[in-house]
Amino acid sequence: MSISLRGNPTRRVCMDAMLCAAAMLLSFLEVLLPLNVIPIPGFRMGLANVVVVAVFVLLSPVDAAVVSFVRICLTALLFGSVTSFWFSFLGGAMAFLMLVLLRAVGHRLSYVGVSVLSAAAHNTGQVLAAVVLFGPSLLPSYLPLLLIASVVYGGAVGFLLNLLIPRLSPQFSRLLRKGGKEK
């Protein structure tokens, strides 16, 4: 069950800002913690996607897009560069489009499958960014390894979401009861 915040823009902005901060915190944590056991250069686990998918399911796709985009911009401003922004932006956009697609046709999937496919789309977006910036020669060598890694890490994030979503749903409902409307 998702919550609509359309009638309360102030609460919506506050909620999205808080969730964006949570996503940024997870992004920062995965850099600090040695969770990256697959030695692919530049690859990350994608813990921030836990927040984005949760927002997509529990609030709305628009809120998820806002949280994702703001997180990407702030992370690039604080810790990255123009290049890293375009990598993250295209990756995030592809992952979001995959979520929108799966929302329509992926009802038989659990969050494991959703997360695997979103991670694969994210990595494909990042390789596309590399192709645009540096030429097409990166495609054969990098994308297959990233896709295999996305199965591992996307699956792990998906298992986490399978546990979290049922537990977060009543929490979100209680938190937003006064300002939101249950759909």
Binding site: G106, Y111, S137, P140, P144, V151
Partner: protein, 124 residues
Amino acid sequence: MFRTKPSRWDLFAALGVVFLACALLLLPLLWQKEGATLVVTTPDGVVGRYALDEDREFTVSARGITLCVVIRDGKACVLRSDCDDGVCVDSGKIHRSGETIVCAPAGVRLRIEGRDADVDFVAG
């Protein structure tokens, strides 16, 4: 919206991604050949072409970042780099036509070109 317990469709999705990865990994091997030349490109353009059959070590600098590139036994790699993430150093050795090492912060690209590409010049 989605299920909260894993289903066989998740397995199908994962296998689909793995199959796609294997296809992308194996298909280029059908047409990739051993390379002959390392082409070094910076934001200023092509700055050097080096034959892979001559062992050498040289540096490339761009955007304030210096890379140390080594060609040995027909393979090229980045030995050291001033960049923050070190992705170029971790990229390993390249020797097949089309293989590339990129240092994104420096904007440097090292690409292997095939045997039919002539060595136009060698940067000093």
